[in-house]
C-alpha cells in the first residue's frame, strides 16, 4: 500500500519548491513530483512594448542568483531577432563574465551539498561553517574562489550582480589593459585553487558513493547504487557559453521544443499518510494534509523531442565530451569537472581579448519582427530566451530557464530512491526555483493555453 509524504519547503537552494512522494512500504519512492511553488509571475507580458535595451535588464531581475545568465540570454535574444552581429571583443568580455559567474556558482554549490556528505574515513557529516580544520581551510578556499569569480565579473561587466556593461549590440566599453591583466592574474590564482577543490570534492563524493547507508535526521537510510538515475535525455547548446538562432548551425531547434501543462503531468489531490518529525529541518508535512501537485505546481513541463531532458553541467559534458556517469554523484562530479574547464576557457578568452578592439556593432537594426532566440549555458543549464523585436519594440518575449527543464527530469530520477534522499537528488540539479516559473505554455498543438494563469 503506497503512502504519501511531502517535504515542503525544500532547502539549500534558491526559491521555493516542494517534493511530493508516493512511497512503498519500505519507503522507496514509486512516483516523485518535484514542483515549484513560487507563484507565476509574468515577465513575458511585462516585456511586450518595452525596448530591447530594457527587457534584458528586466529579465535579469526575475532571479536572485542567475541575473548574469538572464541578462546575457535576454540581450542575445534581442540581437538574434534584429540580426545584429556583435564584435569579437564584446563576445570575449561576455564569455569572461559568464565563466566568472559559473566559477562563483560551482563554489557556492559546494557549500550547498557539503552538509549531505561525510568527511572521508569518518561518520561525521561536513559542516562547511565550522571553525575546525580541515574544513576551515576548505571553506576559506571556497570563499576565495567565489571572490575571484565575482571580482572578474565586476571588472568585465561593471557590476558582479546586475551587469551594467552589457548592451544590445555589444558592450558599453572595453576594459583597460590593466584590467585585463588583473583578470588574468585572478584567473591564474584561481586555477590551482579550483583544481584542488575539484579533487577534494570528487574524493568526498566517491567516499559517499561507496557507503551502504547514510544518516538523515538520525534515521539510517540505505544508499542505492542507482541514486538519481534516469533515462531522460540531455540538452546542452554549447560546451561553455551558449548559442543563438544567428549561428550557422544552431545547436537548439525551437521546433523540437514543446511544453505541457503541469495539470497533465503531476499527480492529483492526495492526503499525506506518512509523517516523519525527525526529518531535517522541522519534519515533513503533517498527516492528513491535502496536497495537489497538479494545481500547486507553478511551472510548465518543457520537453525536447517529446520528453523532459536534463540540463546543466552533466548535460554539457555528456553532449560535448562523452561523459557518461549517471546518477546524483555523477552529476555532482560533472559540476566539479567544470571548475578547471571554466578557468582554462577564461584564460583563452583573455588571451583573445584585444583591449583596443571595438565592442559595439556598427549597425544595430531596429528589428523587422523576426523571431530570434539565444541560449546561455548558465551554471544550472540551458537558459533559452526567445524574442521578437520590431521597430525597436519587443513584441514577444519568453524565457525557458534551466530549472524548469530539470523539474520533470529530476522527478523521474527520484523513482527507486529512499524518500529521505529525495532532497539529495534534487540538490544535484543545483536548483534555482524562484525564476523557474514560466507563464507561456504551449501544448502539443502549439496553442497558447496558460495565459489565463495571470489574468
Amino acid at each position: 500500500m503506497s503512502k504519501v509524504v511531502e517535504i515542503s519547503p525544500t532547502t539549500r537552494h534558491e526559491g521555493h519548491s516542494k517534493l511530493v512522494l508516493k512511497v512503498n512500504d519500505a519507503g522507496i519512492i514509486e512516483t516523485g513530483n518535484w514542483c515549484s511553488i513560487t507563484p507565476v509571475r509574468g515577465v513575458e507580458k511585462l516585456a511586450v512594448g518595452k525596448t530591447p535595451e530594457q527587457v534584458p535588464k528586466i529579465a535579469s531581475r526575475v532571479c536572485g542568483i542567475c541575473p548574469i545568465a538572464h541578462n546575457l540570454a535576454g540581450t542575445e535574444a534581442m540581437e538574434a531577432s534584429i540580426k545584429c552581429e556583435i564584435p569579437k571583443d564584446a563576445k570575449m568580455l561576455r564569455h569572461i563574465l559568464q565563466l566568472a559567474n559559473r566559477l562563483h556558482s560551482i563554489a557556492l554549490h559546494d557549500i550547498l551539498i557539503l552538509p549531505d556528505l561525510y568527511l572521508p574515513g569518518t561518520e561525521t557529516k561536513i559542516n562547511p561553517f565550522t571553525a575546525e580544520e580541515p574544513v576551515r581551510t576548505v571553506a576559506k578556499r571556497i570563499q576565495r574562489i567565489r571572490e575571484i569569480g565575482q571580482t572578474i565579473g565586476q571588472i568585465a561587466a561593471g557590476d558582479c550582480i546586475h551587469p551594467r556593461n552589457t548592451r544590445v549590440g555589444g558592450m558599453y566599453r572595453n576594459v583597460s589593459e590593466q584590467a585585463k591583466t588583473k583578470m588574468y592574474d585572478l584567473a591564474k590564482e584561481a586555477l590551482p585553487l579550483a583544481k584542488a577543490q575539484m579533487d577534494l570534492m570528487i574524493a568526498i563524493l566517491r567516499n559517499y558513493q561507496a557507503r551502504d547507508s547514510v544518516d538523515v535526521g538520525g534515521m539510517k537510510v540505505p544508499l542505492p547504487k542507482t541514486l538519481g538515475f534516469h533515462n531522460q535525455g540531455y540538452l546542452a547548446t554549447h560546451a561553455f557559453y551558449g548559442a543563438s538562432s544567428l549561428d550557422e548551425n544552431p545547436s537548439w531547434d525551437i521546433r523540437r521544443f514543446k511544453e505541457a501543462r503541469p495539470y497533465d503531468w503531476y499527480m492529483g489531490e492526495m492526503e499525506i499518510t506518512l509523517e516523519e518529525p525527525k526529518y531535517p529541518i522541522g519534519g515533513t508535512t503533517k498527516l492528513g494534509t491535502k496536497v495537489n501537485p497538479q494545481m500547486e505546481a507553478c511551472t510548465g513541463i518543457p520537453m525536447y523531442d517529446g520528453q523532459p531532458v536534463e540540463v546543466g553541467p552533466r548535460a554539457r559534458l555528456a553532449v560535448y565530451k562523452n561523459y557518461d556517469e549517471k546518477g546524483t554523484v555523477g552529476q555532482n562530479v560533472a559540476r566539479e569537472m567544470e571548475y578547471p574547464d571554466c578557468l582554462y576557457e577564461m584564460i583563452d578568452c583573455l588571451d583573445e581579448l584585444n583591449t583596443n578592439g571595438k565592442v559595439l556593432a556598427d549597425n544595430i537594426p531596429d528589428g523587422d519582427g523576426s523571431l530570434g532566440w539565444a541560449s546561455n549555458e548558465a551554471p544550472r543549464g540551458t537558459d533559452v530566451h526567445i524574442a521578437r523585436v520590431k521597430d525597436w519594440k519587443v513584441q514577444y518575449y519568453s524565457m525557458l530557464v534551466p530549472t524548469t527543464w530539470n523539474f520533470a527530469t529530476c522527478s523521474a530520477a527520484l523513482t527507486g530512491a529512499p524518500w529521505q534522499l529525495a532532497e539529495v537528488i534534487m540538490r544535484g540539479y543545483d536548483p534555482c526555483v524562484s525564476c523557474a516559473t514560466h507563464m507561456i505554455v504551449i501544448d502539443q498543438e502549439n496553442r497558447l493555453v496558460a495565459q489565463k494563469l495571470i489574468q
Partner: protein, 177 residues
C-alpha cells in the same frame, strides 16, 4: 578586492513596484562622486549570497542596507534598524545549510545598519515597474541619510536628519519634514 571598507547595498526587486526602492537609491548614489573606500552595490535579490556571505570583516567595517520594510508607518517614511530588530527570515541565505542568516554571522564583526522605507505598494507576485510617489519622494532623503550614516558631508545645504535625543541602536523612525 571585491568590497571596500564601507558597503552600501540596495536590496529589492524593481519588478514589484516599491520593492525597487533599494536599487533606485543605489542609482542615485552612483551619480555622486564618493570616496574610494565606499562600494555602492545594486544587490537586487542577491544580497545574501552575492554580498553578505562574501564580506571580509578584515576589510569591510560598515554595511548599510537599503530596502523596503513594513513598520506600519505612512508610505515613504524611513526607519533605521539593527540586525537584531529584523524579523526571522530577513535576508535569509537560501544556500546556507542550516537556514541561519548571514547577517547574524557578521553582525559582531561589521557595523550593520538597515535603512527601511515603508512601501505603499508591493505587487508580488504580479510584476509592475515603477515606485509610488510617496516612495519616490523618499529617495533624496534616503541618499542624504545614508551619506550621513557613512560620514560623508560635502557641506551642501540639507535638512538635519537625526532627531535630537534619539536612542542609539534601536529601530527609530527618521521622519523629515
Amino acid at each position: 578586492m571585491l568590497f571596500s571598507e564601507i558597503v552600501i547595498a540596495g536590496c529589492g526587486n524593481p519588478l514589484f513596484a516599491d520593492d525597487g526602492f533599494g536599487p533606485a537609491v543605489i542609482e542615485e548614489l552612483r551619480k555622486l562622486d564618493l570616496p574610494d573606500n565606499v562600494s555602492v552595490v545594486d544587490a537586487g535579490l542577491g544580497g545574501p549570497h552575492f554580498i553578505f556571505t562574501l564580506l571580509d570583516p578584515e576589510v569591510t567595517k560598515k554595511l548599510v542596507i537599503i530596502d523596503i520594510a513594513d513598520f506600519g508607518e505612512k508610505p515613504g517614511t524611513l526607519a533605521k534598524f539593527r540586525v537584531e530588530d529584523l524579523p526571522p527570515g530577513s535576508y535569509r541565505d537560501a544556500h546556507s545549510w542550516d537556514l541561519t542568516e548571514p547577517l547574524q554571522r557578521i553582525k559582531d564583526l561589521i557595523e550593520i545598519t538597515v535603512v527601511g522605507c515603508q512601501p505603499a505598494r508591493v505587487t508580488d507576485p504580479e510584476m509592475e515597474i515603477g515606485l509610488s510617489d510617496e516612495v519616490s519622494q523618499a529617495i533624496p532623503r534616503t541618499v542624504q541619510f545614508v551619506l550621513d550614516l557613512v560620514g560623508i558631508d560635502y557641506g551642501t545645504a540639507r535638512p538635519y536628519l537625526r532627531k535630537e535625543g534619539r536612542q542609539c541602536g534601536i529601530a527609530e523612525t527618521c521622519k523629515t519634514g
